[in-house]
């Protein structure tokens, strides 16, 4: 149902765009294709990686590592991966969905996604050059704290 609405909206938007401006619509399609092509290597790799993970780690192991009962240690592990890695959202969500289906906890998945999006250890040097050392550090630390708090709340509400 939701997917159908998505398709409907996209097609409608494209039609309106086409009627209003053909050149811009061509640009829209080009940008859409480029962004897709951009992340295709990571998507293919992560899908295969998910295949491996789900084949070799059974649900029991995953839920022991990242399940709701893994508590703080599971959350710390998920947060560490989220802070350090640079995974695009289009790749992270399928991974998160597979882990959830295989027994990971909501709080653990939420903190993985939130830290992935808001905290960037790998890009910290760049951020420092852009905004100054203290501001960049403060933004990342505050983001981490907020990610911990919101993810705990997600965990409580979802369970």
């Amino acid at each position: 149902m939701f997917t159908k609405i998505l398709y409907g909206t996209a097609i409608l938007g494209l039609l309106i765009s086409f009627v209003k401006d053909k050149a811009k619509t061509k640009l829209v399609l080009k940008k859409a294709w480029r962004s897709f092509e951009n992340i295709l290597p990571s998507i293919l790799a992560i899908l295969l990686l998910i295949g491996f993970v789900l084949t070799f780690l059974d649900a029991q192991t995953i839920s022991k590592l990242l399940g709701a009962d893994s508590g703080a240690s599971g959350m710390a592990a998920a947060a560490a991966v989220g802070c350090v890695t640079l995974i695009p959202g289009f790749v992270a969500f399928p991974l998160a969905a597979s882990l959830l289906a295989a027994g990971a906890g909501y709080a653990q998945i939420a903190i993985f996604i939130s830290t992935l999006m808001m905290v960037g250890v790998a890009t910290l040097p760049l951020e420092m050059r852009c905004f100054g050392k203290r501001i960049a550090l403060k933004r990342n630390i505050l983001s981490l704290i907020l990610a911990v708090v919101t993810s705990c709340v997600v965990g409580v509400i979802m369970s």
Partner: protein, 184 residues
């Protein structure tokens, strides 16, 4: 030749995994086949969801007038400026680090610190195509709860950042931005 090399380089990790899978198929055919069938299922599901999301992403990128919105986010913009910063961040595309140069341009144009952090927060967490994709992958309940909490978190972060940033740090920030060459 160099183009071919480039493609191989981009897909290197994927190709290595494929190779690993080929080895697995030889050593443990049953496990190897399971990896393939799991991956293919996921791939087909993704390909059925992803086209409209990328079309919407392209539409937003081309049709949302960033320059005009930016003009309304100055120091005295108040709530309206914050809202605009939020919308602008949410309707953008690209990883968080791509937002830093944009934020610097905003700083140069006199956008307030709180609005800068609202913009960064929105860019990182509430991007519309990402939200849509999150709903398809993790369900609307999870996605919407996370969205609501994150909007709160973004506002808290922006307020705390603005209130705790010393004058000296703020000056450093605006100065770094003003030294940034290139687009203006």
């Amino acid at each position: 030749m160099s183009k071919c090399k480039k493609i191989v380089k981009r897909y290197l990790f994927f190709l290595l995994l494929l190779l690993l899978n080929a080895l697995l198929l030889i050593v443990e055919p049953k496990l190897g086949r399971e990896v393939i069938s799991l991956s293919l299922d996921n791939l087909l599901e993704m390909l059925s969801i992803i086209p409209p999301i990328f079309l919407l992403l392209g539409l937003m990128d081309v049709w949302v007038p960033k320059e005009t919105i930016m003009k309304f986010m100055g120091k005295d913009a108040g709530i309206k400026g914050g809202l605009l910063a939020f919308v602008l961040g949410s309707f953008s595309s690209g990883p968080l680090y791509a937002s830093f140069p944009v934020a610097m341009v905003f700083l140069k144009k006199g956008v307030s610190l709180a609005n800068i952090f609202i913009f960064l927060g929105a860019w990182s967490t509430t991007k519309v195509p990402m939200m849509l994709f999150e709903i398809t992958q993790l369900g609307s309940r999870f996605a919407l709860i996370r969205f609501g909490l994150n909007v709160t978190a973004i506002i808290v972060l922006a307020v705390v950042m603005e209130k705790t940033t010393t004058k000296k740090d703020a000056e450093t920030m605006y100065e770094l931005a003003s030294r940034q060459s290139g687009e203006d």
